[in-house]
Structure formats: structure tokens, C-alpha cells
Symmetry: C2
Subunit: 209 residues, 2 copies
């Protein structure tokens, strides 16, 4: 059972991963607006109060998008989305992390530190954390750099981690779409390689997830 | 060849991993004080300008501590430090990420946004990023919460991810030691489970790495 939410960016990473694998699993939507993720019931699943979370038949609960994808990759190895061979898998991990740190986290930072609905909740989890406007601003600046770096990378390779579509592309696509929606930033014109990649990856069926 | 630095916390994660594996590999120290990580030579290895980076015999360069550890785990599987079985491995990844996000990143944030020597370099990489004092303060507060959460976890299990020592313990130990050294925060008295774990893990030969 996958605890899911249709609007949050992290669950979309897992949904895209599942569509790429051609796998369907039962899901349950957690209502983030009413704060269901802070309920005792959901804390029993994931004390970190974040979606997604995957609960296996034996009750094991796996939180963290990347950990869930790693589990799915092991159980449904085809097509590989996390690389092949020791070095190939490490390189996908490296690129995935770069997409997260330089892009995904920057956009989340920009969003959570500015959205009126998230006052006092600038970080995920149940603790009160005030927004830092300077950090929102920094997140937007970082996201701009991320797009430039990604464009440079995509001048050399078809996909983020090389010639095959991978979890690094999923993280990057979710980042760009979340930025468009949540902080209203479009990729700037003139980044041709990024534009080519964005159109290609957005046309995959998984992008609808 | 491992590009290393004796003072930075990320390279220590990889060095500890290697000692736990009983593996020695040649290393080269990158002089972070003189800015060698921003040199053209090092950018050719890792455009992200961070250590550690592992260069394989065929020239493949792997950056990002966790990606390097994943490579080493595949090549030297014993003893396993990243879990066993699909679910076991996913759970180690989940815990490792929690240690990183809630602990390691919080301390790095507290350090980089306050250290006089890092003005204009509040983020890794070659770009100018001003420090945000509020973020340094928030990092310290987050680190306190992290220690409380970790203590609660260690009341239930021997090690962070369960009954076996793993990469999650390495990340957590490097975090606590870096906090002691870089932001001068000691784990508070009264967190008995954390104290028990810290003494045990610090006594392992790998802690000297």
C-alpha cells in the first residue's frame, strides 16, 4: 500500500517510477491540507510525517521516495531505472543526488519559505519552523543555476545520467514541473538542450503520473 | 584513486566505510584551504567542486559520498553496510537519508552560514552565496531535534537502521563529531541511548578514520 498525495512533488517521483516499471500498486491518499500527515495514525506509518510511504504486506514501512524506488527497483528490475553494474548504479545515484540537492531541494526551499499556507511549517515534519524569506530568495537563485548546469549536462548526453532514462530524470522533471506550479518559474528561453530534454521526457506516459 | 581531505566531514564518511570493509585504496589530499577544489584540474574530476571523489582505473569519476559507498558496497560486499535484501536495503537507505537530512545537513547549514572563513561560500560549489545568519541558527535548533529523535530511535534498536551497524551509523557519527568540532555543540546529558550508541560506535576502529 502506497500512501500518496496528488499535489505533492515527492509522491509523484514514486508514481512516475511505477509507471515506467509498468507496475500498479494500491494507493491511499493522505490529505495534506487537513493535516492528516500529522495524525497519530499516519505517524505510526511514518514518524517523519511525510508522503510517500510504502507499507509492505508484512507491515514494513518504507519512507523516503528514493528508498521506496530502490525497493521497487529490486523487486521489479525491468526496465532498470537506477543504473546497471557497480559503476553505472553509482553514477545514477550521483546524478540523482545532484538533481535533488541543486534543484529539487532549492525549489522546495523557495516554496516552503514563502507560501502563506506554510507559515510556521518551513520544513516538513511536525515541528514549528518559521519561514526565512532570504532562504526563499536564495532557493530561486539556486534553481536558476541548476537549470543552467542541467542544460550544460544535456548538451552532452540524452538523459541526465547518460544515454538511458533513469530516476535522475524523474527527479529533474518533477523539479521543473514543481517550480512552474509552486514558485511560478519557467525554464528560461535559450537553454536548448534543456528544452529538448524537457519536451521528450514530458511526452513519456509516466509524466502524466 | 580517492580525492580526500582530512578535515571535511564528507570524506570521513567514505574513509570510515573503507575501514569497515577492510579495504585500502590510494588517496590524494585536496587542499580545501587554498581552494584547490576550485582549480581547473579538480573541476575536471568533479565539476561540483566537492570532495570526496573516486576515480576508477578506467577514468570514471564518482562524486557524492553515498554514491561512492554504493560502488564500494557492490565491489566489496562483506561486511554489508547498506543492508541486505530488497526491504533491508531500502530501510538502510531511508535511515541514512534521515540522518543526512535531519542531522548532517543541519550541522553543515549551521556551520557554513556562520563560519567567518566561509563568507560568500555558504553553499558548496564555486558560486558566491552569502551566509544567512537565521539559517545558521535554524540549523542549530534542527540539530537539537535530531539528537532527541535519534535518542528515541536508539532506545529501540542497537544501531540506527536496526541490529546491524550500517552506513546510517557512519553518517550519524560523522554528524555528531562534526557538530562537536565545527559548531561546538555537545550532545546534551540525559540522552542515555544516544550516549550508549555514541560510545560504542566511537570505539570501532573505523571511527579513527
Amino acid at each position: 500500500l502506497l500512501y500518496d498525495n496528488p499535489n505533492a512533488p515527492n509522491p509523484r517521483r514514486v508514481r512516475m517510477f511505477l509507471v515506467e516499471k509498468g507496475v500498479e500498486i494500491p494507493t491511499r491518499t493522505v490529505d495534506l491540507r487537513s493535516g492528516e500527515h500529522f495524525s497519530d495514525d499516519f505517524r505510526a506509518v511514518n514518524p517523519g510525517c511525510t508522503v510517500p510511504a510504502l507499507v509492505l504486506d508484512d507491515g514494513t514501512a518504507i519512507a523516503e521516495s528514493v528508498a521506496i524506488c530502490q525497493y521497487l527497483e529490486a523487486v521489479y528490475p525491468d526496465p532498470p531505472l537506477m543504473g546497471e553494474g557497480a559503476a553505472g548504479r553509482a553514477l545514477v545515484t550521483m546524478w540523482q543526488r545532484r538533481m535533488e540537492h541543486d534543484g529539487f531541494f532549492a525549489v522546495v526551499e523557495a516554496f516552503r519559505n514563502a507560501a502563506p499556507g506554510l507559515r510556521g511549517r518551513a520544513l516538513p515534519g511536525g515541528r514549528e519552523v518559521e519561514q526565512i524569506p532570504e532562504l526563499a530568495e536564495r532557493g530561486r537563485r539556486r534553481y536558476g543555476w541548476f537549470l543552467e548546469d542541467l542544460d550544460r549536462r544535456l548538451q552532452e548526453t540524452s538523459f541526465v545520467a547518460g544515454e538511458d532514462f533513469s530516476i535522475a530524470d524523474i527527479t529533474a522533471l518533477v523539479t521543473v514541473d514543481f517550480a512552474r506550479r509552486a514558485i511560478k518559474v519557467e525554464p528560461p528561453a535559450g537553454l536548448g538542450a534543456l528544452d529538448r530534454w524537457y519536451r521528450e521526457v514530458s511526452a513519456r506516459p509516466s509524466a502524466g503520473a
